[in-house]
Amino acid sequence: MKRELLAIGIVVLILFGLPVGAFIYQRQQTSSDSTKRVIIIQATVPEAGGFQPSAIKVNAGETVTLRFSSMDVTHGIAIGPGLGIDLGHVDPGHVKEVTVTFDKAGTYTFYCNTWCSPDHWRMRGIVEVTDPDNPDAIPIAYHDPIIERLVAEGVNIDANVTMGMADHPQPDVLTFDQPPSIEKGNILAATLSIPEELSDAEWRLTHTPMEGLELLADKNPSNSMNDLIHVIAYLWVSDTRFEAIQWAENYFNQNCAACHGQTGDGNGPAANQTAESPVAFGDAAYMFGMRSDVLYAKIRRGGMGTDMPNFGTLLTPEETLKLVSYLWQLAFLAPNSGIE
């Protein structure tokens, strides 16, 4: 009789104790702290719905935990701009979470940073942070001095022509058979008289290397154009910081390499799926006709009709400039060195 009671007790414990235990565990998981909100976000490829939910409303100053899980393939989760949150890969069956306090009212974007499908670049969600004292306030439009200056100058950011080439005819002797060498440029630069403009970072931001080359050639008529190319390459990467490159390389590999290629050859695995073939930043000849501020604007605004997504809602202006400096590295360093 005693044994029978014990057996019944065990059965009851399993039948009722297990589900009750599971419920209690789940409650503890979701609301261990009642003041902290937990938002569960499920990630699927954009063809199947993308992030769900894809829009979150948060009060300024509120602390929320965003818990991400993947429903199909591996996704990468990052939140920007300026938050510096990168959760890395979220594999199906795994959960990653981050607890954030959104101090300022504004709009943030959480996005997938690992190529997951042909529509990967559409995979974005919004965190809308509203000020509880003033919930109807419309955030002030963000001013971008670099882009505004480009617009004022009349530069067509979407034009698919390389600038500088047309107004500054390319000298016949110029060849890019051998990629420009930073080392050679560094050595040569010491022996030349460098025009003032070229040492000015602000000037280099708004001009093409081709324009720089012409100025340099005017000052040093005795040197061959092909030698001067090395000097220009050296000058264009001269004030790049190592930390910036490290950050940008990682960001480029996560977000850009799938189309533009890891080495900037414009031939990533997804390159054949875009409306226009991706630009090859590793092509020094192309980059010699390109301006830093135009690259900056293209990254921030995206390319109209080219399938190049906008990164203005993901990156801060400083981060965008870091990325631009990495593109110059790709042009002048790859493939013969340094960068892997």
């Binding site: 199909d72 393939v73 591996t74 069956g93 190529w115 997951c116 499908s117 590999n253």
Partner: protein, 170 residues
């Protein structure tokens, strides 16, 4: 003398089996000379839903293999049975995997990151040749079969002889 005669008799009776066994042992233990020098090979291995390209890699024992591992659509992984090597690869970023083939045989590599509905079937093979266990097994089975057939053939002959001898008036 009688022992020796007995032995010869046994040999005559079971010579086929005995030689078969000896041949079998030789086949299983004979050291196969190395035909090619170990070399370094570079292979590009592309992973996509739900296959590896190439799905079979042939190398020789002692070879150093550098695999440039790429993914075409989503994140994939590489896990090599018997070597315990694991890597994951994102589309666009090439990963380098180095393997020194110390063991011969056939080893499966499979995707180690859940990549979709048919993920469990995403398998490829690394064949480290010469595939000794395989060829030894083939040789051993052949020797056994030939021995059995031969034994059957010879023993039939013997039993026939026995019957003729037995019925003869001598």
């Amino acid at each position: 003398m009688i022992h020796l005669q007995k032995l010869f008799g046994l040999l005559r009776q079971h010579g086929v089996i005995l030689s078969g066994i000896i041949l079998g042992v030789i086949v299983m233990t004979f050291p196969i000379p190395r035909l090619t020098d170990p070399q370094t090979r570079t292979i590009t291995l592309d992973a996509r839903q739900f296959e590896f390209a190439p799905h079979r890699i042939h190398i020789n024992k002692g070879d150093r293999v550098i695999i440039n591992f790429t993914a075409s659509d989503v994140v994939h992984g590489f896990y090599l049975d018997g070597y315990g090597i694991q890597e994951r690869v994102e589309p666009g970023v090439t990963k380098q995997i180095e393997i020194v083939a110390e063991r011969t045989g056939k080893f499966r590599y499979r995707c180690s990151v859940s990549c979709g509905s048919l993920h469990p079937f995403m398998i490829g093979e690394l064949v480290v040749g010469p595939n000794e266990p395989f060829w030894r097994a083939i040789a051993f089975v052949s020797v056994s079969v030939i021995t059995l057939i031969a034994y059957q053939f010879f023993s039939k002959g013997t039993s026939y002889e026995h019957t003729t001898l037995g019925t003869s008036p001598a």
